[in-house]
Symmetry: C2
Subunit: 599 residues, 2 copies
Amino acid sequence: MNKDRLFKLFEIINSKMETNEEVPKEIIGEICAFGSNLVGLAQINPKVGDVEYNAKKIEKYIKIATDLKLKFIAFPELSLVGCPLEDAVGRFPVIAENGVKWLNRLANMTKDTTVFVGFLEPVDNKYYNSIAILRNGEIVDVIRKSSTVNPFGFNDYKYITSGHKCFVNYEGYGVTIGEDECKIVSDMKAVVNCCAVPSVSSYQNKNKEFASKKGLPYIYVNQAGTIDSVSFAGSSSIYGADGNLIARAKAFEEYLLIADYANGVGQIYNDYDFKKPESFSLDYEQELERIYKIIIQGIMDYFVKCGLKRAVLGLSGGLDSTVCAVLLADALGKENVLGVSMPSKISTAGSKIDAEALAKNLGIKYVVAPIGEMVDTTNNCFNKLFDVVESGWDCRYQKSYTMDNIQARSRAMYLWGISNEFASCIPIATSDKSEIYMGYATVNGDMSGGFAPIADITKTKLFALARWLNKNRAEKDVIPETVLLKRPGAELAIDPNTGKPLCAEDALMPYEFMDEVIWRIENKQETYMQMLYSEFVYEKNNVLTREQKREWLDKFFKRMSGALYKWTILAPAVTLEENSILNKNFRQMITSCSIDYKG
Amino acid sequence: MNKDRLFKLFEIINSKMETNEEVPKEIIGEICAFGSNLVGLAQINPKVGDVEYNAKKIEKYIKIATDLKLKFIAFPELSLVGCPLEDAVGRFPVIAENGVKWLNRLANMTKDTTVFVGFLEPVDNKYYNSIAILRNGEIVDVIRKSSTVNPFGFNDYKYITSGHKCFVNYEGYGVTIGEDECKIVSDMKAVVNCCAVPSVSSYQNKNKEFASKKGLPYIYVNQAGTIDSVSFAGSSSIYGADGNLIARAKAFEEYLLIADYANGVGQIYNDYDFKKPESFSLDYEQELERIYKIIIQGIMDYFVKCGLKRAVLGLSGGLDSTVCAVLLADALGKENVLGVSMPSKISTAGSKIDAEALAKNLGIKYVVAPIGEMVDTTNNCFNKLFDVVESGWDCRYQKSYTMDNIQARSRAMYLWGISNEFASCIPIATSDKSEIYMGYATVNGDMSGGFAPIADITKTKLFALARWLNKNRAEKDVIPETVLLKRPGAELAIDPNTGKPLCAEDALMPYEFMDEVIWRIENKQETYMQMLYSEFVYEKNNVLTREQKREWLDKFFKRMSGALYKWTILAPAVTLEENSILNKNFRQMITSCSIDYKG
């Protein structure tokens, strides 16, 4: 049989698995005829804590692996319970107990195909992060992870004890878990590593390094899918003894990778490079496809795992809501997305036209709901109330953002109203990362929602993503060019200098500059002073005085300190950067607002 | 000199320190005359990351300790940077660098009084949790904490490396940090432990155990005050060689405890017992004073450290907002609290009267702002919009909570409006723990705010606290008796059976039952089945069929699973229980909503 035919059969198997259909006998027969050297890596997409769901999934893969007479099938670290559990097991130890029950059932069904499956092993009120080896109806052996390195800060490690038997040589396979090292012994044929490494973790590239060092084939299976905001890349891989890649599964989705690595037969489905750039650049091209896939999978998983189906979002004709709408339509289906245009007095005609054009291009549902009446009523009520309050309280602002915020909050009222009134539907928070860093978003307004698709994308990257979407989706150019050319602004206030809606960059600073500050904080941990004395990309293309730079940096750090509270109440969002403020396990106290960032 | 006089002088010193006044020479002289055996424990209340602020505070205490010729003065673990830093140092290593600069300045000022001060020691991109010993202008020695036990899940430990030199015998004092053990050597006179243990941690009682085992005097100094939601008890103590308590500082506040432990001279300012009860009980009497103090300190610290001054909250005449108002008045001063009565059509006359009576009794600012107009306008706009949406979207609920929520959201609009319009003022989220567990709170409504004072108090405990406040505050009975007798309800909907506002217990289940489920989850980690087959306090006093119990448990776990999202966007609140959902470091994924709690 030629390889292409074999790979085609693997594709069929995967599509049958996805739709829970029986795999036709002939296909199984044809693959079995290929030989007895095939192995399987099942990068499953679990639900954390839902042991029955995960176990039934694993069961399905064990069954097909057995039918195909694979030598072994490996599942990710902790696959029976899902990763990360965070503190769930501390509150509900029943999760681990259920896992053990199901593990025994899984062992019962095994035959000649060896199974490596991750579970949380409860022993005397402690837990081990363990892999069970199942074969011929039995649990043949168990290894326990030794490393408690916790690069992503998961609370799981509060409960997990370091194990001593952290590798085993089972029939020539040296089996290890996650960051644990495998000791090579003489009759070992290959190393098999079961892991669950977040897509954004710098550990992502470690496996490749390990591979080249061992002098043995190196096989790893990684969790796929998204748990709340934590994406797992899948991309399970097999490297040859020479360190060269033989096979790699699809990224970010559940997949069963089958290969005959000993004979070099395997397909490479992706070549994503998770290495971070050494310096800030406005050229994001290389990472856009990956970001797109992570977010799509993130939205899908959040909705499906929470039993949700539909999303409603405000369409302002601006970049943020536009990109959100495209991503939601791709993840949920256009029929499940409702765009609501909610113009106020300040909204420009162009914005309304752009919103409608986008909705039409995408084919999503679209309604118009002007907020004028709600804003006017609220304004009236506020003015009366504020005058009464002022008689007893001092320090009323001369210039406040109260009226700006009423607009944002009236819009959120509409969106939450729709989500309360129609089943399985949540409102979307459309804030982007640059604005969240600056606190340039309204609490209970545009910041509020059940999910925040672009909260980890800075504005300059978002422009790049929008252009990428126009070029790379099946339907080209759904985003109107006018949206891409417009200077971003919330359209909540009029700029007294121009008489037009205030642009965000005029109120803040150029996005190119802001986004580089964010990048330097997250990737280089630089101080204010270090930034002041290094050259920014912005400075290469623009004249920037030291004084102006100082002013922008002052504003950045001041606004960021004031935004710490807002970060703590953000809707869930897929995390795209390791040290992101969006990562709920990467925290800064609100009362740490007086840190001296200057150094 | 008699002890009473000495203790009086210590009080004067502390009050002078608090107001930053010079301590009169005579007082210093009088204390010095007492003898040369005095030691000092300075349980400071730091700002995390604000090294200059903390260092200047430490400086002040070193100065007075030197003036008083104390043998030594000890500061808590990590006192120069504050604890917990969470991920702040991962983003801003400058914090640790600033700490080292200030440490050298502090060393410079020391004379004969030995200083033990905690700092974060940066070494080759790693950090140690260290104590520096300062004396005669020099850093004499440094020890590094070895234990990386992290009972509260702080992310600090992602950055902190375990040290090897974890104790030192300095002039007869065996100095250790936090959970580290001190090895006793022959010429040791006493053990000094510098720690920072959260008030709710079960480690709280460990120090007492250590003390009785050593056969040497045991001295520990603990951080005081609150960092966001994490309270530190202070209560720094000195135990004699026989394990008996000689001296203990005040709880939850900054304090300088001075004692001559060798001669048994020391005052005991509190005897709080942090032991948890073995079983659920509705008798909360023992813990109420402690809870009150923790919350008051928590509110004060949050406001002061964030540069805030005033709070605005809705007063519904119900228990939640009533207790919040009392706590805020005590923490911020009555002139800094504004109560807003925001009646709707559903609000009863009694509720309005109770709200006004409370405001009058407390002496806080008070205004009335009916929400009828806003609700009507929103209703109208919604009805029009929903009909349009329905033409394109299916699954409109027959019975929805949309209209209920409009009321809660209109009220939040007012409160956020006031906070946007008046300086240094934030709105208060008045939700209690029972309702948060049940998701019985409106997003962008009563759940929303800049701080949530009672979010970790269950309803039955809140009733007890209200009665305690009426009895134990200087002004008695500020809370109207009618508030205490009323059955709680949000007054957002009419009960079709009674024609009166719906009571929460009728919509949910009795609070006595609900609160015991919460207690059993947090303290006993019980499954649904374990609860079904154990006797609840509620069952001792009421007839409860197995069927009804099953129904309530079903409802509890179903509602809790649906509330996971709401927990992630809660406003900051002081955590009062170790395994509380309010603890931002004690997390459960939103997508873990299908855990099988039954077991």
